[in-house]
Symmetry: C2
Subunit: 412 residues, 2 copies
């Protein structure tokens, strides 16, 4: 108790836990964003994939873009394409024509891209650099099987989970089971996530799977780890994305319509799900969302849309609840009622999500930022995918089965 | 030309390239630092190694340390102990009793630790968190040979160097050859680095190799890649380190003698040495040093000591020149004249350096910070290793053969 009092005293003195509340800071802006096509590209490695996203980003900047202005780049990546295990941030930067800058590889499993974005935001806020790339890249197909096995099993607690025989789908199946048990969530609800996201992704020219599926198809696909079947699982994907983050003071030199990052939050959690108090909540998501809402001075109801981490369909249901879009346990009903469709009152994953757009791990978080940038500027390629009058949105990226989570709130 | 003029205009408007000059900022302080013993520990994995460093750090804080105050942790790591490929930052944090915080794994090859420190500094400067751990850990021994091969070859340009058959010692041997050719550097000069660093490391109770070697032993050791022999190469090492970085405003609540980070700089470079204009300079070191000196408002002559990246003996000679301690080409003469000995006018690697202390990759940069923290507080374990009246020092961490470099300047 005495130690706690002392801690609180120091924290109050330091302003800890207070400095980020209700800032709705408009100090950091995004002025460009690009994405490679997501899919399987045997002819492309991490350098080529990132370059494609970088060029797309550069050409998205409305005016005055010059590579010489880029001072820093954070690259989210997990597997390094299976062979460039070290220093890949500098490699993809120099290949894109950006030598001698500050480059950092960020690896937080499937949340690497989301954390790369947060690192870029902090870099700008720190005053160190004014123009910073947050990007991500992953080469997952056409590499050795050993490496793929590593990729898919290494982001939980390896000693207590993977080496004990649990697969990644296995971990999420435990969570899904418990969610069904506690809240009466039905298998149909899981499949509804897949159907919705495939419907959205069918209209996304950069998505890996551009086709719709029926509820029946989704329900009857082969079991992977009950209750999760094939259409409950996202795929392995090659792809990259790149976002141009800058000091808000200079944003208007590059576009008349910058998008501001008004809040962000992150949280880690115990990796092994057996160490957690509850399995039906990703505590990291709950905390990361809470931090981001506080910083932005917003609530879940203020969001016009969200891109959330649906590595498995159950993960989208968890996110819907943990980020406060509906009550805990009600996500099944929420999707069933159509709220999360494009055109609903809380569209989720208009891009197609990880499920249909694809999940090139390190790229996923900054790929969400790319989608949100375009949504908030009203510039989605096909009008059918555009969330109307979108002004505020949230992106949510999960590492492993919730060991790390990042959330960012973006506003027009 | 027109584009360049435009860029310069924008840069001037934005204050780019100016914002960090001559600040000698005293906004960020280090109030604790710890290191595990470096060596071969078959019984310890990354969790146990990091925990050892963390506990050492916690007990080094003079007063008021409470784990609840830690809000963020950046962990430098390359190989994840061969099996926890994803999310390891959250894993080592929760194992150390720090769940739910902001954790990030930083991977920039052998400079991962140095960049973790820079990330922690930026985090504090950004106002996001006030108390941040910068740490690093590597488990290199007692893992499979495949993984070791990866570790040692993956930080150059894999496609153009490793897959073409070059080893890491091979790359540095090319650099050493050219240095000898251009400047008349002798093989003896390389061995003098090994002899000096073993002499220092012999007095470091946490070093991997605590024994002196003679110049004759160093000269006659087996060739690895001519002109580099066994004693020109650092070893593979298990180890971890952890540094407590905080907002300078609260530093005095934890110690009466905080150490301030007054400047830092980084630079990437072309990974493949065939892409560089010169092989006898690490351009990344030169630029990172320049940035750091400018920010601190210091010159090389102001430094009382330096911990530099001597993965191979030639690398220490390069650093001695590239960081401005002597002219380009004169590092051989500089060490021969004794300047870099403890007791000389520019002591380099009083800890024993990578050569004798060991090189647990992800930990090396924050391990240098641990040494500098103790040197500047006059608290090195054995007086024989203490650089007298040390007030300002520099740490220098290189990723790969120079693809990424970080430099930080610390002052009493």
């Amino acid at each position: 108790m005495a130690a706690d009092d002392q801690s609180h005293k120091i924290m109050r003195a330091a302003g800890l836990g207070e400095q980020c509340e209700g800032l709705n800071m408009r100090k950091v802006a995004i002025v460009g964003a690009g994405q490679s096509k997501y899919g399987e590209f045997p002819e492309k490695g991490i350098k080529e994939l990132f370059f494609e996203a970088y060029q797309d980003m550069a050409s998205s900047v409305d005016k005055n873009y010059d590579p010489k202005l880029v001072e820093s780049a954070y690259i989210g990546n997990l597997g390094s394409g299976g062979f460039q295990l070290g220093n890949m941030s500098a490699l993809v930067a120099e290949y894109a024509g950006l030598p001698y800058i500050h480059t950092v590889r960020i690896e937080n499993a499937c949340a690497s891209g989301g954390y790369a974005l947060v690192a870029a935001i902090m870099d700008v806020l720190s005053g160190t650099h004014k123009m910073v790339i947050a990007g991500g890249v992953e080469k997952m197909t056409d590499v050795s099987g050993m490496k793929q096995k590593y990729w898919l099993g290494v982001s939980g607690d390896t000693e207590y989970e993977r080496l004990a025989g649990t697969t990644f789908a296995g971990l999420y199946s435990l969570i899904a089971h418990r969610h069904m048990h506690e809240f009466g969530t039905k298998r149909e609800h899981l499949s509804m996530v897949a159907v919705k996201n495939h419907k959205n992704g069918a209209q996304n020219p950069k998505a890996q799977f551009q086709r719709e599926i029926s509820l029946e198809q989704a329900m009857k696909s082969p079991i992977v780890a009950y209750p999760l079947n094939l259409f409950d699982c996202c795929s392995t994907t090659d792809g990259a994305s790149s976002v141009l983050v800058c000091d808000a003071e200079i944003a208007k030199q590059f576009t008349d319509t910058p998008i501001y990052v008004t809040g962000f939050g992150t949280s880690s959690d115990y990796l092994a799900i057996h160490d957690r108090a509850r399995t039906v909540t990703l505590e990291g998501s709950r905390r990361a969302g809470e931090h981001a809402y506080k910083m932005a001075g917003r609530t879940p109801k203020d969001m016009n849309l969200a891109e959330v981490h649906d590595c498995f369909t159950i993960a989208e249901l968890l996110a819907t609840e943990d980020l406060g879009f509906c009550e805990k346990g009600k996500a099944g009903q929420f999707i069933e009622e159509g709220h999360t469709q494009i055109g609903g009152d809380m569209p989720i994953n208009p891009s197609g999500g990880l499920k249909s757009k694809g999940h090139p791990i390190g790229s996923t978080g900054t790929g969400q930022a790319y989608e949100m940038f375009n949504q908030l500027r009203g510039k989605v390629e096909k009008p059918v995918r555009q969330v109307k009058d979108a002004e505020i949105g949230l992106i949510h990226n999960v590492g492993g089965s919730g060991g790390t989570v990042s959330v960012s709130i973006m506003e027009r």
